[in-house]
């Protein structure tokens, strides 16, 4: 999946460059090219995050032991957090390259909100637990991921 994703991003960048015909580096406001790249990339990252979160939730609900739940939950959190961070990293890179720090501030805010969404939250585990109960499964995500002494 990573390779396809990388190819897609490169294609997206080239397409944006062709469509806007813009020089990415310039004075004043960010060029339309940069804005398109950032918006496109951010949309793609957040979409990927939500897509993987759905896949991760499905894997969690299929788990056959608490250990599998812990693994699936960790994987889901790590992958979603990575996608959430990408817009900020792009914004930071572009800010370094072009000097447009407002791009960084914008993407930072978006990444921060996405990270909070992707982070472990009680509402999320409660929702997953309810889904487990609806399916009649004797596993609870909240119990499986809860750190406890002596274990």
């Amino acid at each position: 999946m990573t390779l396809e994703w990388a190819v897609f991003v490169v294609v997206l960048l080239i397409a944006a460059m062709i469509v806007t015909g813009a020089d990415p580096v310039g004075d004043g406001d960010p060029s339309p090219f940069l804005v398109v790249v950032v918006v496109g990339f951010t949309t793609f990252s957040l979409g990927s995050m939500l897509w993987y979160r759905t896949l991760g939730s499905a894997a969690l609900l299929r788990a056959e032991s608490n250990e599998e739940i812990r693994q699936a939950y960790t994987r889901r959190m790590m992958v979603c957090s990575t996608f959430a961070l990408l817009p900020m990293l792009l914004g930071f890179a572009l800010a370094l390259a072009t000097g447009h720090v407002d791009l960084f501030f914008g993407t930072f805010l978006i990444s921060l909100i996405a990270l909070i969404y992707a982070a472990p939250r009680k509402r999320d585990t409660d929702r997953l637990d309810r889904a487990m109960i609806r399916r009649g499964r004797p596993f609870r995500v909240s119990a499986a991921i809860e750190p406890r002494d002596g274990s």
Partner: protein
């Protein structure tokens, strides 16, 4: 002289006629993934030796050392002959392992249930029990003087109805009892929802975690840990005869529950305690589990692999959520034939389970996976099942 028990011969003949007579297989050596039966090595798919500890060197060494230090027997019941330090050590280890205030050991899990249920409730009280609870719970309930209600298996809504009904009828105390893992199907009780329902009606909750100890929860700490219900389950009954690899039972809970059982638990008061070698082996088992989760992890991995192989071969393996793997066959005679062919033609020892242990038409071969099985063992077993299954038309 007239044989006053001759009626039993007729009863035994009837058992044979109905295919219900139990023939007990004799094993020549120790429990393990392979057994010696009648001079043959057979793959063991029958024992509750989940973690392969029954012949583990660490347990055997501990038992030998206890034999040297304490001798063979406890002398009498602990309240009369005194208690050995090693029994106290075991109870401390279990208290620590289970994360409870106190624990008390019994001769078996069966004895623990016979001790705790009648001790908790009186005639003015009511017991509400899952319909598929183990025979030791059924017998414990029979010994208690309290009233009783049964709720459909795992049905928490029905349990809530029974609880509300019991309160309306004026029951003084209510005791809800469930197995943690149900041994025939391998399903897990929805204990968190049971506890919620019981709390709503101020009922005591007791769980018998015989098949969950050493299997569920972190490092095999059982169903209470699995659902993270520490402090919310009043009484936990466990056994050391299954995953722990030795023999014995225990009750874990609050100090006052354990203290009460020392005063009123009849198997504790009227039957000798576990022997010192058994106790030492149990302590060693707890220490093995505390030191590493490797065995528990391996058990779950083995179970997953075997279930995948059996499902892939086309077998119906029920809805087990634990390493217990029922191979559902339906017909009693078919189940017995599969079991016979597995043993005779393929050296696989897997027992048929039929009525009255399970409902008519629900006969199965119950495969008990162990951490001691290797990948090759599991493959041999699955291959044997597939061959016999094809031979008898169970799978295509």
């Amino acid at each position: 002289m007239t044989d006053k028990t001759s009626y039993l011969r007729d009863e035994l003949d009837a058992l044979v006629d109905h295919g219900l007579y139990n023939t007990i297989t004799t094993i020549d050596g120790p429990q393990g993934p392979w057994l010696s039966v009648g001079g043959r090595d057979v793959l063991n798919f029958c024992s509750n030796n989940y973690l392969g500890l029954a012949n583990d060197d660490r347990l055997v060494t501990a038992a030998k050392a206890a034999l040297d230090r304490y001798g063979i027997g406890p002398g009498a019941v602990r309240t009369i002959a005194g208690t050995m330090t090693i029994h106290d050590d075991l109870e401390e280890a279990l208290t620590r392992f289970k994360g409870v205030e106190a624990a008390i050991s019994f001769q078996s899990g069966y004895a623990a249930n016979l001790a705790v249920i009648p001790a908790l409730v009186e005639a003015e009280d009511l017991i509400i029990s899952d319909e598929l609870n183990h025979a030791s719970i059924v017998d414990g309930v029979r010994l208690a003087r309290a009233g009783r209600k049964i709720y459909p298996h795992g049905d928490v809504d029905a349990l809530s109805d029974r609880l509300a009904e019991a309160r309306r009828e004026g029951a003084r105390r209510i005791l809800v009892i469930t197995d943690g893992v149900f041994s025939m199907d391998g399903d897990i009780a929805p204990l968190d929802r049971i506890v919620d329902a019981a709390d709503e009606h101020d009922a005591i909750v007791m769980v018998d975690d015989a098949h969950g100890e050493g299997v569920l929860g972190r490092g095999g700490r059982g169903i209470v840990d699995h659902f993270d219900l520490h402090g919310r389950v009043d009484v936990e009954v466990g056994t050391m005869s299954k995953a722990f690899g030795a023999v014995g039972g225990y009750v874990a809970g609050s100090k006052h529950v354990v203290d009460w059982l020392r005063q009123r638990g009849r198997p504790f008061l009227f039957s000798s305690a576990l022997t010192p070698p058994d106790v030492a082996a149990c302590i060693a088992a707890v220490e093995v589990l505390e030191a590493s989760t490797d065995l528990v992890d391996r058990l779950w991995l083995n179970a997953k692999r075997f279930k995948e192989m059996m499902s892939g071969a086309g077998f119906d393996i029920g809805s087990s959520e634990t390493p217990i793997t029922p191979v559902m066959l339906g017909d009693e005679h078919l189940a017995r034939e599969v079991s016979r062919l597995l043993l005779e033609d393929h050296n696989v020892f897997a027992q048929a389970i039929a009525f009255p242990t399970v409902a008519t038409g629900k006969a199965r071969i119950r495969v008990m996976i162990s951490a001691a099985h290797t990948d090759a063992d599991l493959a041999v077993g699955a291959e044997a099942f597939t061959t016999v299954g094809k031979q008898l038309g169970v799978v295509a």
